[in-house]
């Protein structure tokens, strides 16, 4: 499957997940959005060696995935495929920090390894939370939630239209790429100038389409705004979810739960 087709398929599958009916999809989008952002901020607040303290935070994405009946494998696959840039930077840690941070009997684990693991864990947690947000909330609902949370109208309109038309343009791009590939010598990749021509074609089509869309908008009374209305009302489920998330984040941040648990266990074992 070509890269463009694979991308569209991924977008489509996340979209599909969000359209199903589950406890997670029934939660108020504003609550989910705020919870996700708070979660990400708390995860990011832990230091580079505080690997263990990240553990209780795993409950949030796991619970949300369960409530939304979200399959794990495609999410994990997407995480694995995600920009390895951060992991590239993280990969330096074991080489730069060789001082032992943890000793298990005679085995010493360097700070660098712990830091590497911490970064990986943070990566998985934060990106997982983001993916789960869109897997349990349609993008249109995320946009409306952002608007209700005071994002400027022009920005929300921009998000909605970009999302709406990326499918259309990606398909046009795929057609152009395929058409060119069928005429190109075996396996020759697109050259710089070839890319310029192809993208130029795509851009011209996009510009023409933008004009047609504008005409269609005007014919139905467009006055500069794209109004979306949703009848959302906060319910007890939303309150429960918000309270639980807040509790988890505060507890994880305030107390070193793993140390307490671990201390109790190792103390009992002695």
């Amino acid at each position: 499957m070509g890269r463009i087709e694979a991308t569209l398929a991924h977008l489509g599958s996340l979209d599909e997940l969000a359209r199903r009916d589950s406890s997670a999809t029934r939660l108020d989008p504003r609550v989910k959005l705020v919870a996700t952002l708070a979660f990400v901020a708390v995860v990011a607040s832990f230091g580079r060696l505080e690997l263990a303290r990240l553990a209780p935070l795993a409950l949030y994405p796991l619970a949300l995935a369960a409530l939304g009946d979200v399959p794990w494998r495609p999410l994990l696959l997407r995480l694995a495929l995600a920009a390895p840039f951060a992991l590239g930077v993280a990969a330096f840690e074991p080489f730069l920090d060789r001082a032992p941070a943890v000793t298990l009997g005679t085995l010493a684990i360097s700070g660098g390894l712990v830091a590497f693991a911490t970064i990986l864990a943070k990566f998985a947690l934060t990106l997982g939370a983001g993916l789960l947000l869109v897997a349990t909330t349609g993008f249109d609902e995320v946009c409306v939630a952002l608007r209700r949370l005071a994002l400027p109208r022009a920005v929300v309109a921009q998000l909605m239209l970009t999302y709406r038309y990326l499918f259309v343009l990606a398909e046009e791009a795929a057609r152009l790429v395929r058409a060119r590939a069928l005429r190109a010598p075996e396996g020759r990749r697109l050259s710089l100038s070839g890319a310029g021509t192809l993208l130029g074609q795509l851009l011209l089509r996009a510009l023409a389409r933008a004009e047609r869309i504008h005409v269609a908008m005007r014919c139905r009374g467009f006055d500069g705004r794209l109004p979306v209305r949703r009848a959302w009302r906060l319910g007890p489920g939303d309150a429960a979810f918000a309270a639980a998330t807040l509790l988890l984040l505060l507890a994880a941040r305030a107390a070193d739960l793993p140390a307490l648990v671990g201390g109790a266990i190792t103390g009992a074992l002695r």
Binding site: V89, F95, A195
Partner: protein
């Protein structure tokens, strides 16, 4: 070049979010006031175009790898700086949410690095003056490559600065910059070439499409405001960072060397990186692990007992969380199948 939440501290992420939000609000307000409703579908479709264009890979001459269009400079040429900034922001937001390409906390950083420097700095300060009113192909290529390269280099510097200030990664800013900048210079040049090719193709077919020459003086205000705001905020954050963590990077240096004197094992990688850093000497103030005489670390050294129980506790809690998650899922399935 997308930054992940894993490497960003809440302080740095928050500051960049504030800077980006300010710029976004400013750009949005100017657009809404300009009262041109053609821009709404145009900006939306062009955002979608950049998204689609980034999926079209081409071969970078000379290297074996492939690249794709970034789009910031092209958008600025087509839409002007403010609208282009918003369009880039929307593309990056979709990428962050759906593709885990860049974190949510780091979205402010990413929009700033990839949007501000191209739309508000490279385009008005480099592209416009170099290209002039009706550039021939040669001039267009020159303006485009210079502006794109500059925009990307500044963005790369932004990444280095934000990562370093966050203090999660031990990589020293000098080394990091030495690694990032040459790569992004090449990427920037390629971006400039492709952008020029696209602009030429469009201009041949539809010359009226390219951004009209609006008074440059007006274009500079968001730039100045943006830079001032970012500088003030970063300065404040830097000062806060320095005050709460007096050792700052020295702390991470000390951590890295474990409080031991320079007798820490110097691997070949260390030596190589040290040589690179010495050669580039971009930020000579920042020490390199093992080189400077490490001061006594301000943080207590971990004791073996405490960290073991920490590890055990962490594993236990993680297992409980996973079990809870699995249990919840199984419970829902059973309820659904009734």
């Amino acid at each position: 070049m997308h930054m992940s939440d894993a490497l960003v501290s809440p302080a740095v992420g928050g500051v960049m979010w504030a800077a980006t939000s300010g710029l976004t609000a400013l750009a949005a307000r100017r657009l809404e006031r300009a009262d041109d409703d053609r821009r709404v579908p145009l900006m939306g479709v062009l955002g979608a175009f950049v998204f689609a264009a980034q999926m079209v890979n081409f071969a970078i001459p000379g290297t074996g790898s492939s690249g794709h269009l970034g789009g910031g400079l092209l958008l600025a040429i087509l839409l002007g700086p403010g609208a282009a900034f918003l369009a880039m922001a929307s593309v990056l937001a979709v990428q962050a949410l759906f593709f885990a390409d860049g974190g949510l906390l780091a979205l402010g950083c990413n929009v700033f690095n990839l949007g501000f420097f191209t739309c508000f700095v490279a385009y008005p300060l480099l592209y416009r003056p170099l290209a002039g009113a009706r550039p021939g192909p040669g001039r267009l290529v020159l303006a485009s490559t210079v502006a794109a390269a500059a925009g990307l280099l500044l963005g790369a510097l932004g990444v280095v600065l934000e990562t370093s200030l966050s203090g999660i990664s031990t990589l020293s800013p000098g080394t990091f910059a030495a690694l990032m900048l040459p790569v992004h210079l090449v990427i920037g040049l390629v971006e400039g070439l492709v952008t020029a090719a696209v602009v030429l193709a469009v201009r041949r077919a539809r010359p009226e499409v390219l951004a009209p020459a609006s008074a440059p003086a007006r274009n500079l205000r968001p730039l100045v405001l943006g830079l001032a705001a970012a500088a003030a905020l970063l300065g404040t954050a830097g000062a806060w960072f320095a005050s709460t963590r007096p050792d700052g990077l020295e702390w991470s240096v000390a951590r890295a060397s474990g409080g031991q004197p320079a007798a820490a094992p110097e691997s070949r990688l260390h030596a190589l990186l040290a040589r690179v850093q010495r050669a580039t000497a971009l930020l000579p103030d920042y020490g390199f692990p093992g080189r400077a005489a490490a001061p006594a670390p301000a943080w207590p050294a971990p004791s073996a007992g405490a960290s073991l129980s920490g590890l055990v506790g962490g594993l236990v809690v993680l297992s409980c969380s996973t079990a809870a998650g699995l249990g919840l899922r199984a419970l829902r399935r059973r309820r659904a199948s009734r």
